[in-house]
Amino acid sequence: MISKVTIKSTRVQHFWNRQGFVRYIFVLLLLGFAYRIVSIHNLSAGDISLQQRAINQSSLIVTDKARRGDILDRNGEILASNLMLKRIVLNPLKIQSEFITRLADSIGMPFGELETILSEKRKNNRGYLVIKKNIAITNPIIGKVEELIKTRIKVCREKNTEKKLSLVDKALSILGIKKYKTEYETVSDCSPEIAEGIAIENDTKRYYPKGASLAPLIGRMNHDNEGISGIEGEFDKVLAGQNGKRQLEYTNTSNQSYFNSKSLSDLEHGQNITLTIDSEIQFHAFKALENSVAFHEAESGSAIVLSANGEVLAMANYPADDPNNKAVYNPQHYRNRVLADKVEPGSTMKPFTMLLALDKNRITATDDELIDVTKRIGHIRPDKKYKQMTIKKILEKSHNLGTVNISERLTKEEMYSAWSALGFGYPLGLIPSIENSGSLRHYSSWGDVDKRALSFGHGPMETNLAQLARAYLVFANDGKIPSLKLIDGVNYDKKYINVFSSNSVDKISTILDSVVSDKGSGYRAQIDGYSVAGKTGTAERVINGVYSKKGEKRTFFVGFAPAKKPKYIMAVRLDYPKKCFTSWNPELRNRCEGSNSASMTFKETMEDILTNDSSIKLLSDS
């Protein structure tokens, strides 16, 4: 018989309330999780959020270094270049001892020496050692080390392992019959391995093939590879370019990123800069200066050579250091005296006084025009040597009183206008950061003494050597002067400034030709077979605004060749030459002047330039 079971449904008290409570708890939990999901992204872990930290860990920012541009001369010869070299880097903590003998062979270093260096580094726990640097890419060392890195050599490592038991002992141990204490032993584990801790890294080095001859002009770089002086400093941004930055989704053990890098900033290699400098002419000028400074025991020397259209062919300074030798650095030897020093140019200004007077019809500069030089003018006293002089004679003998006499026929305003038009007191804009543009005081503040002094290159004006050389360009351009140019491809002002008439320039040019003759003060600038013109100059050296009491002088020579239609204009300055000799007796000492010091430097340089230029005809040919 089947018993009837009745299930009596009983009502659970507060069922809905309890169920609701649990439901709310779950909802709250879910909300809590949801909040956590969002908030965990922004949790800070130190200074940065976890999200940012995750991004940083999974990605890598790679910097592609920009190549610094080269500096070239007008013929494309390298004056400064970034050599792309290699260096060999070791990790002394990782490198296996089996590789050291072969490594020493590969890099050409005695084994003992390498071993000592490595053990020293290991002792100090150093993991980075540059063992060889500045290695040219063609150097066989690179090939040998590359091969060594790929080679597998049997490397033995000692390791502690559990001492092995015999099968019987093992069985007894498992059955619990005999108990063994775990014992360890040191065994040698040998297997072929590739080298660890040897790497070849890229290296760069700024190299100056022309050494010291261009150092003050080109300048140099600091340890951070930034240009600090000269062209390197002035055009650092152009030469340096811009490093590129890429973000890679990268892991250390793989190259998974492939082409997925995201460019953060574009890589721009530095641009090359081509100068108007001719290395050959530069070398001649530098060598001549070096010889002159040594011969005359001068403190320093500087020279500039220009072409007729105002291109700077050479800008030499001595003393100068070889910029490839990083161990030596004397800031004075990187001083570009041609642009940075403002000086009184002395008698080299006399031709301009004559040119102005001729232009204004105050003189005729003919042989029958005689200038009286017997009367004192201001503080300039007559000498007993001459009574009447022609303009030619005044320039040949560099006569101060004769020149002052001519300046008395000119007004202050006329002289100021001419000197301004010649560019004195105005910047040339070649290397603005180092250029000292000199000064030309306004004529309203001049006294008579100033005007007289100005006629022979003293008084209210100071100039740098480049400005002085530029003024002489009037002789190559029929009385006009162009702007100077140093960098090829830069838009310099193409306008020629008309200063003097072509007739006046022709006349004075002929006179300057005779200055460089046996009769003139520039007799030592004569070059056999070529017509050369120029003017000597000597100026007392000004130290802290006062003329030197020790009789220190600056000697000058500004000349050009050929005398008719000049192709080269050169200005030379020697500072404080102490040893000069007469021309007739090379052992007889004489006081130093432009005629027996700077003119010799000019001659030495110009002779080399002219003999190497086949386009210039010898006097006998013409």
């Binding site: 010869e77 270049s81 792309m84 890229n202 050494g211 001859s213 190259n255």
Partner: protein, 87 residues
């Protein structure tokens, strides 16, 4: 066969095909990447050799080097000027 089964098979095959293609593309990408790295290394090498040669050339033809060679190796001397020749 049910349409649903056919679609499932097709989708399964597509997944296999795309997986294989993905492996191939990934492999090609890696090879291309390696090749581009090789080209980059070679390019770097060529540029550095070019720069090295130009610099060496510039150094060789600088007056200093020529003068030293002429004097030391070739035994040349600066000519001395004779002003007067006695006949």
């Amino acid at each position: 066969m049910l349409i649903r089964t056919k679609i499932n098979i097709a989708l399964g095959l597509l997944i296999i095909v795309f997986s294989i293609l993905n492996i191939i593309w990934n492999h090609q990408s890696r090879i291309l990447y390696k090749e581009s790295m090789n080209v980059k290394t070679n390019n770097h090498r060529i540029i550095s050799i070019h720069k090295q040669l130009l610099s060496e050339y510039s150094k060789k033809i600088s007056g200093d080097e020529i003068q030293t060679n002429a004097e030391l190796e070739l035994g040349m001397k600066t000519p001395e000027k004779i002003k007067n020749i006695d006949l």
